[in-house]
C-alpha cells in the first residue's frame, strides 16, 4: 500500500508539473468555459433588452402601480400602458409586444391577504426570450415584495404565467443549466482524452509500463488532476452565471456540486476510454468533440425538448447520460431540491460513472499491441 501511495504521489506531482509548464490544458479547462459561457450567455441574454411590454393596470392603486414599476426605466423592458386586457391581447397578436403583464382588479385587496396574483402572458414563439423574460419578471416582483414593510413572512404574489403558442414546450426551456452541462461535458471529456492520448503518442507510456506502476494507478493519476481542473471550470461557470447573468440557484448548492462531481467522473471516464482506443491526440480530440459536443447539445434536451423529438431520438437521448444530468441541473437551478427526482437521476448518473470509469480501468492495460 505504501508503494501505491508513493507512486500515486509521484505521478500526480508529475501531472501538475506538466500542467504548470504546458498551459494548453489549463487554458482548455479555464478559458474554454469562460469563453463558452460569455459567448452563448450573452448571445441569448442580449435578446432580453428592450422587450416591448404591455402593462394592463386593471387595479390602478399606487401599490399596484408600484408593484410593476420595475418595467419603467429598465433596460430590459420598454413598456406600453393599456387599460384593458383585450387591448393588450391585440398588441400581442400583432406582435407589437412580446409580453403582457396584467394586474388584476383585486390585486391590492388580495395582497394584504397574501394571495395576490399577477398574470403574465408571454409570446412563446421565441421561447428562450420568453423564459428569460419570465425569469426576470419573477425576480423583480419577488424583490419588490421583499421591500414591502411587514410583508416579509407569509406574503406572496403568485405569478400566473402562460405562454402563448408554445405552451407545452415552454416549461423545460431553460438555457443556463444546459450551458453548464455542455461545458462540463466538453472539458471533462476533451481534457482527459487529450492528455492521456499524448502519453500514448509520445511513447512515454511504454517506458512507464515497465516499472512497478499498476494500470489502475496510471488511470487514477490522470483522473485526480484533471478532475480538479474541470471542477475549477465548473466553479467559474457557476460564479459567472450567478454574478454576470444573475441566475439564482433555487435548490441546494451542495447537492448541485455533488451531482456535478459525479457527472464529471462520467465525462472523465468517457475521455479516458476515447484516448485508450484512439491513442493519438488528433483522433482523441476529434472523437471527443463528436462524442461530447454534438450529443450534449442536440440529444440532451438542451435545444430540442426530448419529448417532442422522434421516438428513436428520445431513446438515444435517454440512453446517453447528458439528459439526466441536465434534468437534475434544471430542477436544482429553477425549482429547488426535488428529492425524489434527484435521487432517481443522481442514482442513474452514479451508475454511468461506475460504468465509464470501470471501462477506463479495464481497457488500460500495460500492453502496446
Amino acid at each position: 500500500m505504501n508503494g501505491f501511495v508513493r507512486r500515486m504521489q509521484a505521478l500526480i506531482h508529475k501531472e501538475f508539473l506538466q500542467l504548470s509548464r504546458d498551459s494548453s490544458s489549463l487554458l482548455l479547462g479555464i478559458v474554454l468555459p469562460i469563453a463558452l459561457i460569455l459567448i452563448i450567455g450573452y448571445g441569448i441574454s442580449l435578446d432580453i433588452r428592450n422587450i416591448p411590454t404591455a402593462v394592463v393596470l386593471e387595479d390602478a392603486s399606487p401599490k399596484a402601480q408600484d408593484a410593476v414599476s420595475f418595467v419603467n426605466g429598465s433596460a430590459y423592458f420598454s413598456p406600453t400602458y393599456v387599460t384593458s386586457f383585450r387591448e393588450a391581447e391585440q398588441l400581442l397578436l400583432d406582435r407589437d409586444v412580446r409580453v403582457i403583464i396584467d394586474v388584476p382588479p383585486d390585486f391590492t385587496s388580495k395582497l394584504a391577504a397574501g394571495e395576490a396574483t399577477l398574470r403574465v402572458v408571454l409570446d412563446g414563439v421565441e421561447a428562450a426570450t420568453a423564459m428569460s423574460t419570465q425569469g426576470y419578471i419573477e425576480s423583480a416582483v419577488s424583490s419588490w415584495l421583499l421591500r414591502q414593510p411587514g410583508a416579509d413572512s407569509g406574503a406572496r404574489i403568485a405569478l400566473e404565467a402562460r405562454m402563448w403558442y408554445n405552451d407545452a414546450n415552454s416549461s423545460t426551456w431553460f438555457f443556463l443549466p444546459g450551458l453548464i452541462m455542455i461545458i462540463v461535458t466538453i472539458i471533462g471529456i476533451m481534457l482527459t482524452a487529450i492528455v492521456m492520448a499524448r502519453e500514448w503518442e509520445r511513447g512515454t507510456f511504454e517506458s512507464l509500463f515497465v516499472t512497478p506502476v499498476r494500470p489502475v494507478e496510471l488511470v487514477l493519476a490522470k483522473i485526480v488532476p484533471y478532475f480538479c481542473v474541470a471542477l475549477l471550470g465548473v466553479f467559474l461557470c457557476l460564479f459567472l452565471s450567478r454574478f454576470l447573468f444573475e441566475v439564482p440557484v433555487a435548490g441546494s448548492l451542495a447537492v448541485l456540486l455533488g451531482l456535478t462531481m459525479v457527472y464529471l467522473m462520467i465525462a472523465l471516464g468517457i475521455g479516458l476510454v476515447i484516448s485508450t482506443v484512439t491513442k493519438s491526440q488528433f483522433l482523441a480530440c476529434q472523437s471527443s468533440m463528436l462524442v461530447s459536443f454534438l450529443p450534449s447539445v442536440v440529444l440532451s434536451g438542451f435545444v430540442f425538448d426530448l419529448r417532442s423529438t422522434p421516438a428513436v431520438v428520445q431513446v438515444i437521448g435517454n440512453v446517453l447520460p447528458f439528459s439526466h444530468y441536465l434534468t437534475c441541473l434544471r430542477s436544482l437551478f429553477l425549482s429547488g431540491t426535488n428529492a425524489g427526482l434527484l435521487l432517481k437521476q443522481g442514482g442513474l448518473l452514479l451508475l454511468y460513472g461506475v460504468f465509464f470509469i470501470g471501462a477506463a480501468f479495464t481497457m488500460t492495460r500495460k500492453k502496446v499491441e
Binding site: 509548464r21 511513447g203 516499472t211 500492453k367
Partner: protein, 583 residues
C-alpha cells in the same frame, strides 16, 4: 533458481494485417540470456528485434512458444517482470516538459528507490552521463545524445535485474555513442548487470558477449562476436583505387560482380570486399592489375555473409549501365551550388550557423551529422522549401532569393518519408509526376520508359505504390524525381531505416547517376556513408565542423585509413580543445 534470465523457446509472434493477412514478426525463435553481461540482438529493420524486446518486457503476448523472464512466464508474470526489470524503448519516453531532475525523480519514485540512497546514486549517474550541470534543464531542450543518456539514467535509477535497451544509440553522434557504451560497460562490470540490447551498429555488437542475428523474424546465427567474424574469415580483402578515381567507382565494379564478390564497401579510403566462398581472387582487380591485400574479417563481414545467404530475392543492380561507370565519374570544375554564410534561426535558436560551401557538377556531396545537427534545415533551404534568415544561396546558377521557381525546375527532390501516392499504381505515379513537371506527351512517354528501364520497374508497373517492397518504393521515388532530368538531385536521409543490402544497392544507383553527370546532395546520419561522397560537410548543433574530401580530412587529422566514426570524434575533440565546444 532458473539458470537463464531470458529463455525463449520456439517463440512466435504473428501480427494481423488488413484483409485477413498476417505477418510473422518472429518465427520459432530460440534465445537464451544468462545472468550478467551484454547480449546483442542485431538485424536489419523489420527483423523483429523490437517485437522480441516488447515480448520480454511483457508488453505483448506471444502467439506461440514459451518465453520466461527471470523464471516467470512472460504473460502471467508480466506485472512482476515489469517491476523488476528496466526497459528503454527506442524513443525513450522522457517527459520533455519536465527537467532532468524531475524525470529522474519520477522513475526513482516509481521504482521505490529509498530517499537515503538517492543522492549517491544520482551523483554517480549524473557524473557518468555528463549531465550534472543540466539537472534544471527541461528534457526537451537537451541534445539527442544527452536525451539518450538521460533515458539510460532513468532506467538505472536502481540496479535492475535485467536491462532492455532497444536501439539506444540510433541517430546519435559517434562521440555520445561511445560514451554511452562506456557507461554501459562500467555498470555491467560494477553491478553485474544483465543487458539485452538491440542495435544496428556492428561495432556496438562487437562489445557484447553474445550476439544473436535476426532477419525477417528468423534467427540466422548466434554466438560470440568471434564466432560471427569467423563466418567471413579468410575471404576479406582491401584494395586501393588508382589515384584520382573515386572510391565508389571501384566499389561499384566489385559489387556488380556477384559471381565472385559477396559485398564491397568503401572504407578508410580503400574498398573493403568479401569474396564468395571458394573464389581465390576478384577477376576485375586482376584484369586491372590492382592489388588486393587480405585483411581480418570483422563482425559486419560475418553479418553481410549471413544476410546474403538468407536473402533469396536480390534486387537487380540498378544503374545506367557499365559504360557510364567507365567514363570515370569525376566531377567537373563547373560550380552547381553556391552557399555563402548561410544562417537559419528559429526564434532565438540557431539551427544553422554561418555555413558556406560549393558543390560541383557531377559531384556527390554529403551533409553528415547526428540527429539535430542542422542537416535537414540546410537541405530545405537549398531546395527552396525554407527561406534562409541570411546568406547567399545559388542553385544551378539561379539565386534562390530571386527565382525560386526557376531553380526548382533544375532540381529533383526525394523526401525522407515515402511521399508518393500509395493507392496509385507505379505507372500512375510516374504519369502524374511527369505531368506536374510539365513534360510534353512525347517526351513524357520516352522519359517514363527510360526510368522504368533504369530502375527495373517493368514487372511492377501495375502494382499499387503503397504495396511495393521498401527497396522498390525508394527506386520509384527516385525515378519520379528524375523524370524531368534535373541537374541536381536532393536526397534527404534516403538510407535511414533501410536494411544493409538495400543500402548497398541504393549507393550503387547513386554512383551511376553521378557518373552520368547528375549532381547529388545527400544527407545521412550514417557517418560511414561519407566514404561514398566526393566531398562532405560534417555538421553538429548547426555548426560546420569540417568539410572536404574523405582523404583530405584524414590527411589533415593525420589519421590515414581511420573510419568515419573515428574521424567525427577526432574532429569534435579537436574543436573542443580549441575551446570552440559546440553547444
Amino acid at each position: 533458481m532458473e539458470e537463464y534470465i531470458i529463455r525463449a523457446e520456439q517463440l512466435n509472434k504473428v501480427f494481423p494485417l488488413k484483409k485477413g493477412r498476417t505477418v510473422e514478426a518472429l518465427k520459432s525463435l530460440d534465445l537464451t540470456v544468462k545472468q550478467g553481461g551484454l547480449t546483442a540482438v542485431i538485424g536489419p529493420d523489420g527483423a523483429g528485434k523490437t517485437t522480441f524486446m516488447r515480448l520480454v518486457a511483457g508488453l505483448m503476448r506471444p502467439t506461440g512458444g514459451r518465453l520466461t523472464v527471470l523464471g516467470l512466464d512472460s504473460v502471467q508474470g508480466a506485472e512482476e517482470i515489469q517491476a523488476r526489470i528496466s526497459y528503454m524503448p527506442q524513443k525513450f519516453g522522457l517527459y520533455e516538459d519536465l527537467t532532468v531532475q524531475e524525470n529522474m525523480d519520477l522513475y526513482a519514485d516509481l521504482h521505490g528507490v529509498p530517499e537515503k540512497v538517492r543522492p549517491a546514486r544520482y551523483g554517480k549517474l549524473l557524473t557518468m552521463m555528463g549531465l550534472e550541470r543540466f539537472t534544471g534543464r527541461l528534457a526537451g531542450k537537451l541534445s539527442g545524445g544527452m536525451k539518450q543518456k538521460l533515458g539510460l539514467a532513468c532506467t538505472l535509477v536502481r540496479s535492475p535485474e535485467l536491462l532492455l535497451l532497444d536501439e539506444p544509440t540510433v541517430g546519435v553522434d559517434p562521440l555520445s555513442r561511445r560514451e554511452l557504451w562506456e557507461i554501459l560497460q562500467e555498470f555491467v562490470r560494477d553491478e553485474n548487470l544483465t543487458v539485452l540490447v538491440n542495435t544496428a551498429y556492428m561495432n556496438e555488437a562487437a562489445l557484447c558477449g553474445q550476439v544473436y542475428v535476426l532477419h525477417k523474424g528468423a534467427l540466422l546465427a548466434h554466438g560470440t562476436p568471434d564466432d560471427l567474424r569467423a563466418i567471413a574469415a579468410g575471404r576479406c580483402y582491401r584494395c586501393t583505387p588508382p589515384p584520382g578515381e573515386p572510391t565508389r567507382i571501384l566499389q561499384a565494379h566489385l559489387i556488380d560482380d556477384r559471381d565472385h564478390v559477396v559485398d564491397a564497401v568503401p572504407k578508410g579510403g580503400d574498398v573493403h570486399f568479401i569474396l564468395q566462398e571458394g573464389v581465390p581472387a576478384a577477376p576485375y582487380l586482376e584484369a586491372r592489375g590492382i592489388a588486393a591485400r587480405p585483411v581480418a574479417s570483422d563482425l559486419e563481414d560475418g553479418f553481410m555473409v549471413l544476410l546474403h545467404r538468407a536473402e533469396t530475392e536480390v534486387l537487380p543492380a540498378a544503374g545506367a549501365g557499365e559504360d557510364a561507370l567507365d567514363k570515370g565519374g569525376r566531377p567537373t570544375d563547373k560550380v552547381n551550388i553556391t552557399v555563402r554564410d548561410l544562417v537559419k534561426k528559429f526564434g532565438d535558436f540557431t539551427a544553422v550557423a554561418h555555413t558556406s560551401f560549393e558543390v560541383h557538377e557531377g559531384e556527390v556531396f554529403g551533409l553528415l551529422g547526428p540527429n539535430g545537427a542542422g542537416k535537414t534545415t540546410t537541405f530545405k533551404m537549398l531546395c527552396g522549401l525554407l527561406p534562409a534568415t541570411s546568406g547567399f544561396l545559388s542553385v544551378a546558377g539561379v539565386d534562390l532569393h530571386v527565382a525560386r521557381t526557376q531553380a526548382r525546375a533544375n532540381i529533383g527532390y526525394v523526401a525522407q518519408k515515402f511521399s508518393l501516392y500509395g493507392n496509385l499504381s507505379v505507372r500512375d505515379n510516374l504519369e502524374f509526376f511527369a505531368g506536374i513537371y510539365g513534360l510534353p506527351p512525347k517526351r513524357r512517354r520516352e522519359r517514363i520508359a527510360q526510368v522504368v528501364r533504369e530502375f527495373f520497374l517493368e514487372d511492377r508497373l501495375d502494382m499499387r505504390a503503397g504495396d511495393l517492397p521498401g527497396g522498390y518504393k525508394q527506386r520509384l521515388s527516385m525515378a519520379c524525381a528524375l523524370l524531368h532530368e534535373p541537374k541536381i538531385l536532393f536526397l534527404d536521409e534516403p538510407t535511414s531505416g533501410i536494411d544493409p543490402l538495400t543500402r548497398r544497392n541504393f549507393w550503387r544507383q547513386i554512383t551511376s547517376l553521378a557518373a552520368n553527370g547528375t549532381t547529388i546532395i545527400i544527407t545521412t546520419h550514417f557517418m560511414e556513408e561519407a566514404e561514398y561522397c566526393d566531398r562532405f560537410l560534417i555538421q553538429d548543433n548547426g555548426h560546420m565542423l569540417a568539410m572536404g574530401a574523405p582523404s583530405e580530412i584524414r590527411r589533415q587529422l593525420g589519421r590515414e585509413g581511420a573510419d568515419m566514426d573515428d574521424i567525427f570524434m577526432a574532429i569534435v575533440e579537436q574543436a573542443r580543445t580549441k575551446g570552440e565546444e559546440p553547444k
